[in-house]
Amino acid sequence: MTEAALNSYEATSLTQLTLRRFFRHRMALLSIGVLALVIFSALFAPLSPYGPTEQNPSNDLMPPSLDHWFGTDDLGRDVFTRTLYGGRISIVVGLAATALSLLVGVVVGALAGYFGGWLDNLLMRITDAFLSLPSLFVLILISTVLRDMPNSAMRNSVWIVVVVIAVLSWMWPARLIRGAFLSMRHHEFVIAAESVGVGDWRIMLRHILPNSVGLIIVQATLSVGSAIIIESGLSYLGFGVQPPTPSWGNLLATAQVYALRAPWLMVFPGLMIFITTMSVNHIGDGLRDAFDPFSVR
């Protein structure tokens, strides 16, 4: 290489490299646009001419029309409006619950996989215990504690739902990350770091964890959709978003009753969950590729 060529070469930071790789992922970029559209639609839901709980029972179960783009539900409420409002809660629940379950799962898995020994045994037995507990049992237990709370606003709080879903879901990322840390614990770059005196926490956070990002991202993208669906299931036990407040999950749950008579009731919330999940998935693909140190893009 000539000296001129060398001088003209611009140093590229890791961040710039990562961003460049991400921006080359067209589906990820498109998905960001789609997800942004979904989020903005939810944010601007109050612009709808109909309120989310505005009822017209004599106009129930009408199919999609110019007046009601997504039709009306069993109380004559505009499904398009309720789907938009539902996004506010479902997106928050989906993303927050996923983030929390990953946070807990990554911490548990990292500690277990890196340190091994009695800590690994202890944490994995706890993980196994949570895995073996029937979800119903856990929910009834939580319900027993919460139902005596005089503050009903707290009991119905979306954040309680987020915590409950995270409690039910952290185990899978924990096992996944434990496996990754177990494996990378013995890689040369970790041994090299240890040999020059790098501390355990720094190794975990600065060396192993970045190499697990791809795994975490994939797990996250898979978890978002299931978190939204779990939220709808919680309503069967008195958790979750209570009516009349809409969420995509409880819209789907209600739609089941009218599956044959009014199929559009489940189509549109289902479509929104699908679009959101697909978008998160593709963004995840883009992030995974962007963070992948072996990527040549």
Partner: protein, 574 residues
């Protein structure tokens, strides 16, 4: 084709599918066949899968706090008598229903003699004797038995058993409901245990039975299997070999099972007949009759979350009659009956059917202006966000928000629809209502379980309930001031914590005589008092019934019976 292109194509196909589906409408409902006659039934045999939304905690009806128990337990229990679909008493294990005419009821109504049919056997082959009748009373009336269904056993002073087929019941006070005394099943002395340990009996989940079927398997959370009782008192019956109660909480899954023919009977479908028949067309239909399940709002008149289950101090909001009246005036009853829950019939009191029916006009008609005026008078002024706050209210500090929580049970869409409609109707007059539905086990749990209605930690409960052919025990439990739940009286059912001396007197009068006109008049007095003071506000009666396959015959939907009250008569065509 790379993954991105595949995704795009998939999305396009999905959008096309969505557009096509949106144009679909369900076919118009066919006129339902009346009668629901099945094809010619076989001579016997076969099994029926009954879809139930929850698992009963016990099959001992005297311990039941949830309605599901009776729905399942009736298949495996038998008492001395029952009420048929016409509201008439029929003997079961007894030869006849005692009466004054044949001398088996004394002139003073304090002695009732029951004669058992000869040759009766429990499912394990042990003879059923009058000692089992006596044991049933001993067990239920034991204060440590945990019995919830007291069924007036406390009025019995003693039972004599002069021979193995005769039980002479001596009452300390008149029990007008004596024909029903032993209707919820006899308890076998030899196969149960000590009365004070009744809650722990193994018998509660695998009863040695006199009923048509015997529990052969209990798979918790999944199913209860019952096989025919070879010693059942009716020769040749039951006709079916097996009943399988399949626990399926999800309404969608329940419906799918019926549509696919995996279930033959579907309890509490939660759909109108129109919706139901469209969905299961070709497999079955919803068989229904005007019912006895009465949907009502139950106001807590006492302050919740004060570690006191009693009637005082008053509820900061609902303790004021004007507020309760305002809530009643704010409800658009016509919209509820016609649009929100179509197919129901209006009810204005608990006495909406049977010989004790009491038709009183709807006092609190839909009148938002009246509702607003009452709330203003009661010291609740409109806030800036459209919800009222206290300003001179009788029992609430100034600034308290007029916010109430409504609690019902989950997995029942008609109830959710009603609650959502009420939320909007009350919002229109400045009342904020939130919905918090819970599982059956929580709503209908015991005091020991911390159930809201037992502890008094609730604002408004909303659910349906029913009265049996003789309502005295239930009515006394619901409305007598002595029936407020407490540590000393955990079985108490006066959940509203209503105390009214006139109501107590009417209830006592109705229970002190067997004269029907006197009793009916007393119940009507009570109905008017309930209407005036609104511990409860009655809304409507559901129709009753269940989904049934067209291949099932021999059944009769009865508002006085449960799902399986006549399971011994069921036949299945192949």
């Amino acid at each position: 084709m790379n993954s991105s292109k595949r995704s795009v194509v998939f999305v396009m196909l999905l959008l096309a599918f969505v557009l096509a589906l949106s144009g679909c409408a369900a076919p118009p409902p066919q006129q339902a066949d009346t009668g629901g006659e099945a094809a010619a039934a076989s001579d016997g045999g076969g099994q029926v899968v009954l879809i139930i939304p929850e698992e009963p905690a016990t099959l001992n009806q005297y311990l039941a706090v949830a309605a599901i128990v009776r729905q399942v337990a009736d298949a495996t229990t038998a008492g001395l008598s029952l009420v048929d679909q016409n509201g008439d008493f029929q003997p079961v294990l007894a030869e006849t229903i005692p009466s004054i005419a044949d001398g088996t009821v004394s002139e003073d109504f304090l002695t009732v003699t029951w004669k058992l049919r000869p040759g009766l056997l429990w499912s394990d082959g042990t003879p059923i004797t009058s000692d089992d009748v006596k044991f049933t009373w001993e067990a239920i009336s034991n204060p440590d038995s945990g019995a919830v269904l007291s069924n007036d056993f406390e009025k019995i002073s003693s039972i004599d058993t002069p021979d193995e087929l005769t039980a002479v019941v001596h009452y300390s006070e008149v029990n007008s409901a004596y024909p029903m005394q032993f209707a919820y099943g006899l308890l076998p002395r030899h196969a149960t245990g000590e009365p004070n340990e009744m809650e722990k009996w193994e018998w509660n989940r695998a009863p040695v039975t006199a009923g048509a079927f015997v529990v052969s398997e209990w798979n918790s959370g999944d199913s209860i299997v019952m096989d025919r009782n070879p010693n059942y008192y009716l020769d040749g019956q039951p006709y079916l070999d097996r009943l399988i109660f399949k626990v399926v909480p999800d309404p969608g899954a329940q419906m799918a099972m019926m549509i696919q023919g995996e279930g033959q009977v579907h309890l509490w479908p939660g759909a109108t007949k129109e919706d139901y028949d469209v969905q299961v067309e070709g497999e079955g239909q919803l068989q229904e009759v005007p019912g006895q399940w009465n949907m009502a709002l139950r106001f807590n008149l006492s302050k919740p979350f004060d570690d006191d289950t009693g009637a005082t101090p008053p509820h900061p909001i609902l303790g004021d009659l004007k507020v309760r009246q305002a809530l009643a005036h704010a409800i658009d009853y016509d919209t509820i009956i016609n649009d929100v829950n179509p197919g129901v019939s209006p009810a204005t009191s608990p006495f909406a059917y049977g010989w004790y029916r009491c038709d009183i006009p709807r006092t609190y008609t839909f009148d938002q202006e009246k509702a607003n005026a009452l709330l203003e008078e009661a010291g609740w002024v409109m806030g800036s966000d459209g919800i009222r706050v206290a300003s001179g209210a009788a029992n609430a500090e100034d600034g308290t928000r007029l916010s109430l929580q409504m609690e019902g049970y989950t997995n029942f869409q008609p109830l959710v629809k009603l609650e959502e409609a009420l939320v909007e109707m009350w919002k229109a007059v400045g009342v904020e209502a939130t919905i918090q539905n819970d599982d059956f086990s929580i709503i209908f749990g015991s005091l020991a379980d911390g159930a809201p209605r037992k502890t008094g930690n609730f604002d408004i409960l909303i659910y349906d309930s029913s009265l049996s052919i003789d309502p005295q025990a239930t009515i006394a439990g619901l409305f007598h001031s002595s029936a407020i739940p407490s540590a000393d009286n955990p079985a108490g059912a006066n959940y509203s914590r209503w105390v009214n001396a006139e109501a107590d007197a009417a209830i006592d009068l109705a229970g002190s005589t067997v004269d029907v006109p006197t009793r009916q008049a007393a119940y009507c007095d009570l109905a008017n008092l309930i209407d005036a003071e609104l511990p409860q506000l009655h809304l409507y009666l559901f129709t009753e019934g269940y989904g049934a396959t067209d291949k099932l015959s021999g059944y009769a939907v009865s508002i006085w019976g449960s799902l399986t009250w006549d399971a011994q008569n069921w036949k299945l065509s192949q």
